[in-house]
């Protein structure tokens, strides 16, 4: 009998540390499925961030490099420039990519580095216990915005796809959401496109994945998915930005 569903070869058979209902496990599996499909596991080098996905290298079955908080795209630039024939991607959260690493994100994109980035936007700092992220929604309560994010005080949620869409070095930008089975399929398609672009030397590609963080949002897994679908997408409209 044909086996219809298996663990991707790029994903190790280990337990992850992610919380119940977290989107990281799904997103990382999608990355692995795409790498398997493209047959590029043997030439892949991933750059793991600081944040919840810090130990992604324990789950991924290919070469990985650590990076300091916010510096993943600088490390990836170094890797790709000396080995342009390898497939290099970063996997980064919102704090990493859009707060402490904003300069690296904008300038790597602007240089048009031939890299792919998987950007997990869950509107909160998960690893450190639920503080405000650059992408936290207005009025969203976090450990550091106990009364809710106030635009006058904390500014507005940072829209990465919209921001990068004006840069000529960027080849591909799409925002997707892990809010349903359909959303997950679309996310995989976007990751596939971002990865293929690099293989075809098209320049910088980024997929922004809206992803649930039930524990830090103070919601059940189901409520979190609902909130993602109904609230988060209002601030972060889905679709292709470039």
């Amino acid at each position: 009998m044909k086996k219809a569903f298996t663990r991707p070869k790029s994903l190790r058979d280990v337990e992850t540390h992610y919380c119940p209902g977290c989107g990281h496990g799904v997103a990382q599996r999608l990355v692995c499925e795409v790498i398997d499909q493209l047959g590029i596991r043997g030439k892949t080098i991933a750059v793991c961030p600081v944040g919840c996905a810090v130990v992604a290298y324990d789950y991924w079955n290919f070469d990985c490099c650590e990076a300091a908080h916010g510096r993943a795209l600088a490390v990836a630039t170094g890797i790709k420039r000396v080995q342009p024939d390898k497939f290099v991607f970063t996997y980064q959260g919102d704090g990493d990519l859009a707060a402490i690493g904003t300069a690296e994100t904008v300038h790597t994109a602007n240089r048009g580095e031939n890299l792919s980035t998987v950007f997990i936007n869950n509107a909160i700092y998960g690893m450190t216990g639920g503080q405000m992220a650059p992408t936290t929604l207005l009025n969203q309560k976090t450990a550091t915005t106990p009364l809710g994010r106030d635009a006058q005080r904390e500014g507005y949620p940072l829209k990465v796809c919209e921001l990068l869409s004006r840069l000529p070095g960027v080849a591909f930008l799409e925002r997707v959401a892990l809010d349903s089975a359909g959303g997950i399929i679309k996310a995989k398609r976007a990751i596939h496109q971002a990865f293929v672009n690099q293989l075809e030397k098209k320049g910088f590609s980024l997929v922004e994945i809206l992803s649930p963080c039930p524990v830090c949002w103070g919601k059940s897994a189901l409520q979190a998915q609902q909130w993602l679908k109904e609230e988060m997408v209002k601030t972060f409209p889905l679709g292709r930005y470039k």
Partner: protein, 362 residues
């Protein structure tokens, strides 16, 4: 085949890096080392190597981390304020045991300070600089020619011990022009010593180049469990002990019969050398001990001196308010008088000032 050229220290370091097989350079403009970045912007592409002008010093050192993680020879250069920004990355490089060369052409500090030559980053370079229990190997050239040679040595030692290595020069060394003998064939770069050492360098079985035909590799400095991190730190400390044991370097001048020993490194040592000669003319038995490796500090040379001679006096000279003098005092450990004379902020102790300091004390 050797060629004699007139070059600035900055350019000589750049040329040496190219010849030493530097595959990747990332830097950000800062005075007084801009000629180095500009030199490599021209030379690296000529040799089909990578040159990147980064958006910041943070990005530059992390780009170096990426290239180093692939097993390539990588370098970044900057000056004091820029090196402060690189400290986070240097800590990660040390933690992940990645070799690379970091050049600091020091200027006056603290803060924005000024762009005049200084030696006030000694503490930062030799004591770790970033967070965590680590050291970088630190080499301090005293001339343009030596800067050229130490780039080769720096890359080799970095590879041999899997550690970031710092070349610590100052604005004077970076900016001044001197005759430089450039070796055009690999066999003479710089001398046979290089060839022999090169052959003994370890391979890089940790380098990231895709897991085709082998198991995946991870380059990291993160060890969540306490005992794992402690074990990792013990490995680092063992490596540092070996470096301390084997890589102390210094120049010694007239030390056989000296009763007063001047201690100075880099550009400062050139003036100290002239002062030593002037003192000898006055029949004062002065000598010079010039550390070339600042970490490991050449404490062994002090030990030998103190064993041979009971009555000694040291005068430490620095273009700083007194940093290396602490290591001299640790090496001497109360067995002899250790005096200090230094100037900072672009002030440079002159030969006359040094003589006055010694003759006045008598």
């Amino acid at each position: 085949m050797n060629k004699k050229m007139l070059m600035t220290g900055n350019e000589a370091i750049g040329e040496a890096a190219v010849q030493a097989g530097c595959d990747f350079y990332a830097g950000y403009p800062i005075t007084p080392q801009n000629e180095l970045t500009a030199y490599l912007a021209k030379r690296m592409p000529e040799e089909k190597r990578v040159f990147v002008q980064a958006e910041s010093e943070l990005a530059a050192i992390n780009m170096v981390m990426g290239a180093a993680a692939c097993g390539r020879r990588a370098m970044t250069t900057s000056s004091s304020p820029g090196i402060s920004l690189k400290q986070e990355g240097i800590s990660y490089l040390a933690g992940a045991r990645l070799p690379c060369l970091i050049v600091n052409i020091m200027r006056g500090g603290p803060g924005l300070g000024n762009i005049a030559p200084a030696q006030s980053d000694y503490f930062q370079a030799t004591k770790g600089g970033g967070h965590g229990d680590y050291h970088c190997l630190v080499l301090a050239p005293g001339s343009v020619q030596e800067a050229y040679h130490l780039v080769f040595l720096g890359f080799d030692l970095a590879d041999q011990y899997r550690t970031p290595t710092i070349l610590l020069g100052d604005g004077m060394l970076g900016q001044m022009m001197e005759p430089l003998i450039v070796c055009s064939s690999p066999a003479c770069r710089p001398g046979r010593e290089f060839v022999v050492r090169r052959k003994r360098l370890p391979t890089k079985p940790w380098a990231l180049n895709g897991c085709q035909g082998r198991g995946p590799r991870v380059v990291k400095s993160f060890f969540m469990q306490n005992e794992l991190l402690e074990g990792h730190n013990k490995i680092l400390q063992k490596n540092y002990a070996q470096i301390k044991n084997k890589e102390q370097r210094c120049e010694q001048l007239y030390l056989e019969d000296s009763s007063i020993v001047l201690v100075a490194y880099g550009s400062m040592a050139r003036i100290a050398k002239a002062a030593t000669a002037a003192l000898r003319k006055k029949k004062i038995k002065a000598g010079l001990l010039r550390p070339i490796s600042l970490w490991p500090f050449p404490a062994g040379a002090f030990e030998q001196l103190l064993k041979k001679k009971k009555k000694l006096r040291f005068l430490v000279l620095e273009m700083s308010c007194g940093q290396m003098v602490e290591d001299v005092r640790l090496a001497v450990n109360g067995r002899a008088a250790v005096d200090f004379y230094g100037r900072s902020g672009g002030g440079i102790p002159t030969e006359e000032e040094i003589l006055k300091k010694i003759l006045h004390r008598g």
